[in-house]
Symmetry: C2
Subunit: 318 residues, 2 copies
């Protein structure tokens, strides 16, 4: 490997930032400022990075479309964060006060909508039917995923399959979309794309499982938001469901909690003392192993970077 | 004229309703139900009707695209209503409790987003670059219009030009968009389109001016929401600004109200006793006269219907 991934992708991410700055036009209103700040103050830029990486396998003369596609994907991701903060009544995100908390409903609804419309505008010029069909369908599925998440709040009987379907719609879907759109924008070969889509699915699933159990194990400083917030909000993630399936004491505790919604600390403590976190890590690792498998046959220098993304996630995991 | 507009357009509107019902899939969740109910329980369907009407001047074999375009425009309009109700903290709309009021932020943010994504999905298959560029830009301008409206809340020094710019972005823009997209979807001749766009602008401006002064003159039963809500929310519409420009007593009252935000009843009463409403009507009528002028040269049976739309608005006005 000549350069680490971060420095390899840096010039492209700089181009995206310049594009986003030009388009979000910070300095003109609260909404513009909040939008741009959300871009610059954090996030791993996983979605645009994957779109860019996949685009390296395609036509070089489509580079400008690729940049706009990658920017659009990050903008949609940001829109979902801003609206989620309203929905979840969240005070902090990425160690900063949320738009919703600082400026109220008006600015938060509009910031999200401004980001959605900016995302759509960024790619409207791309002449590629499947690109737009795929994007539109995914946007709708993401909203449906939100709803499904709400339907299963405080539902102590939900299955692990339910959970996997939720995290697919919540996270893996947009990561798969990033790979598809990066490929469509630059006309990547279809056979290669098939493996990349599976890679994206596995990376996405792993990513959300890690995110979910970090809510139990990481410090608030690292999380940039309060700990145990999923459990408090009745979002039962993999460690909870795994433990429920095999520990009858915990099953009773969870049933009681789901009914009365008090004493989430007791549950968190019980989970941390069990091996449910370790088991979740093992499942996440299995997805990462599969992701590596998906890219073994790719013949391109970008393969090393696709592997590096997986290894970075594995580091975060441990 | 063979048939009145309402019966002429009815079969097309039925097709749109069938399409929307199929896509919004009522019966499956609160969001789906709220979305579909908003479609069936009201609204003049002005935007889809204009798109359909303009589409009659274009290629007949593009009829399916035209139906989906018209549906998409109504869906975007509905999305803006649902999100507006969050922003304005509105309890009722079209004589029913709002989604926001009945089901809270979560369902309301998601219902709006579901409608936006459904709107985009409806037209993503249409292969027409300018169609998508125009749609994306308009969506962004609509959001910017929302923001501008907020910036001038309780601003008693804003100009009438400010107001006109606001109502353009709030209402006329989507009506103009309906005409453009109906034309693009069916390849309407560009020269004809130019006049139609001006017609749409004039109809849209008039429509919002009427809406704004009905807030003073119509009964709550007709409005389907509380009276004087614009004034209470600090949205100063045409009658307010006209009266401020020429009546120094009112100017002082408005200044005081903008500062202390109390006694909006006193202001409303003063406005109703002045001739500010009459003057607003005259301005609205001028836009309608211009709209009629815009369509004099159109040689098609739809001309009569374009005229009828204007006359319907003039009836609403008086």
């Amino acid at each position: 490997m000549t350069k680490p991934f971060k420095s390899f992708i840096k010039p492209d991410l700089k181009k995206i930032e310049a594009y986003i700055k030009k388009n979000l036009d910070p300095g003109t209103s609260i909404v513009n400022d909040e939008s741009f700040n959300l871009y610059v103050t954090g996030g791993k830029k996983l979605r645009p990075s994957l779109a860019l990486l996949v685009g390296k396998l395609g036509d070089k003369d489509k580079y400008n479309d690729l940049i706009k596609t990658a920017a659009s994907l990050e903008l949609i991701h940001m829109a979902s964060l801003v609206h989620d903060d309203i929905i979840d009544d969240s005070e902090t995100r990425r160690k900063r006060k949320t738009t919703f908390y600082k400026h109220g409903y008006f600015q938060a609804v509009n910031t999200g909508n401004f980001l959605i419309s900016s995302a759509i505008e960024a790619v409207s010029h791309i002449e590629h039917q499947e690109f737009h069909d795929t994007y539109a369908l995914a946007m709708r599925q993401i909203v449906e995923g939100e709803l499904f998440q709400f339907d299963t709040q405080f539902d102590d009987m939900q299955t692990i399959d339910n959970y996997l379907d939720k995290i697919y719609k919540k996270t893996a879907l947009l990561i798969v979309l990033s790979i598809k759109l990066g490929a469509f924008a630059t006309n990547v070969d279809r056979k290669v794309l098939k493996s990349l889509i599976e890679y994206g699915y596995n990376v996405g699933m792993s990513f959300q499982i890690i995110d979910d159990y970090l809510d139990f194990t990481a410090s608030e400083k690292i999380l940039g938001k309060p700990k145990f917030s999923d459990l408090k909000n009745g979002h039962y993630t993999l460690p909870v469901l795994l433990l429920r399936n095999k520990d009858s004491t915990f099953r009773s505790m969870l049933k009681k909690y789901s009914k009365h919604r008090a004493n989430s600390e007791e549950l968190s403590k019980y989970i941390l003392e069990s091996n449910a976190i370790q088991e979740s890590k093992a499942i996440s690792n299995k997805y990462l192993d599969d992701a590596l498998q998906n890219v073994t046959d790719i013949e391109s220098p970008i393969k090393e970077y696709l592997v590096e993304v997986v290894e970075k996630l594995r580091d975060r995991l441990n």
